[in-house]
Symmetry: C2
């Protein structure tokens, strides 16, 4: 039993314990693609994480995450740059298809959103040569506008693609249904991303009605209002055939046993995605 085309982002199964334990659980359910977070890799050790990936023939659909460029001062920007270089190194060592970039929001106390966006462009430009040299594509993930202040001031697919176009080779986008499903220009922007080979990752979950928590109430596929099949059709028509990566930040699912969560992911993925 295997489920080609399905990847599990470790944020979906944070209750699952260590890097190795989460991988074992994925394998029990036939899942052979993963997307770890840096904290899992750090605890396991980079070499050990890479060994587990290699020995099990796992595909790494993305490494989470780099970014958070805006900072109040030069020391903050240096710290972000150094952290992002390490994230690139990790992504390379893990053989990740991309390093997911959550660009960051307003620096503390700032109300200057255009300024923060300029800092993101500068930070990406500074990181890019290093990422190119390491062979790690950078996937800008536009985040839902409800995160504009504190997580990512890149909030639309078109905006992310504009930045990717400016930066050039080695930069694309991670398209998460949760963040962009509402975008009135979605179809055109997915097609545009496809034409330029800029789709590096496709994340899935669902938008619940009501959404009770702005951070941790994302839905399991099928429990919300996103037309996931139609979304995937646009993605594949644009030429991306990589895994669909389940990323669900949820107090609800986080409280359930990992095998229940993964079994549900597989079932919903096969029926609905």
């Amino acid at each position: 039993m295997s489920v080609p085309g399905l990847s599990i982002n470790f944020a979906t199964v944070r209750q699952g314990g260590s890097f190795g334990a989460i991988v074992d659980a994925c394998l029990r359910h036939g899942i052979t693609a993963i997307s770890p977070w840096r904290e899992h890799v750090e605890v396991a050790g980079l070499a050990e994480a890479a060994r587990i990936i290699s020995e099990n023939g796992l595909r790494v659909s993305g490494h989470c995450r780099g970014g958070f460029f805006p900072a109040l001062d030069e020391a903050g920007r240096r710290a972000a740059f150094e952290s992002n270089r390490r994230a690139v190194d990790e992504a390379a060592a893990l053989g990740a298809a991309c390093l997911v970039i959550v660009v960051g929001g307003l620096p503390a106390g700032s109300r200057d959103l255009p300024g923060a966006r300029a800092m993101v462009a500068d930070g990406m430009a500074e990181l890019l040569p290093y990422a190119r040299a390491a062979g790690v594509p950078l996937a800008i993930e536009p985040l839902h506008p409800c995160y504009a202040a504190d997580r990512a001031c890149i909030n639309m697919l078109g905006q992310a693609l504009d930045l990717a176009d400016t930066l050039g080779e080695g930069v694309g986008v991670a398209i998460d249904v949760y963040h962009v499903w509402w975008d009135p220009d979605l179809a055109a922007q997915i097609a545009r991303a496809g034409r330029n080979g800029q789709i590096l990752a496709h994340h899935i979950c669902d938008w619940l009605v009501p959404t009770k928590d702005i951070l941790n109430d994302r839905g399991m596929m099928g429990d919300g209002v996103i037309d996931l099949k139609a979304f995937r059709q646009m993605i594949e028509a644009a030429g991306f055939h990589g895994p669909q990566e389940v990323e669900i930040f949820s107090h609800d699912w986080g409280a359930r046993p990992i095998d229940e969560v993964l079994a549900t992911c597989v079932e919903r993925f096969e029926a609905l995605c």
Copy 2:
């Protein structure tokens, strides 16, 4: 003491009781522009509400609200149409500058966002002749994307203006900082709205970090991250000089005495907006 340029949306002071009681409270604080909701007018009676407005020389910056066009069946669409006609009548009787339109989201059980948007366009087109005949401008209010599913599937200023352009005379937009502050194309779209005389209302509040509740945790001006002065400069440069209308849905402010809320609105408005 009067505070020209400041309007109070009754959603900000729902704890204040009746239509007349809220008006009295506003007058105590020198506030002579208001934006009532339909339920306040219904309880007071339309004639009595109009009398209070007239006798006190109040300006009505908007009537809240019409819209909610998408429906599963013809009966639902008819009900929405009839309700919206009554809302137009009320706006006319109150001398409101506009009827604010919150267009509605997905019909229950639907995942067809483009379909819902088409229903909105159809519903607006059907209502418009009646509103024109009554002399009531319709102000489409683009709502933050976090409300796309359940309140309004028009989520960007540019999208609202595209619809307004299609519909023609008698349709404009209500621009609420909360809903659009994050829009990467904000400046250009405000300027575009101004060129075409489509800015009918300007609502203010603030975006809190963190936002604890998606519906009822809007901030008082100055408590969040929106650059309100810069926003207002764009609005005025675009030719709109009407009142800034404070609309704060908030469990926090709703639990405070109305005089505290209004005094704070006046103080923050004069200092920050």
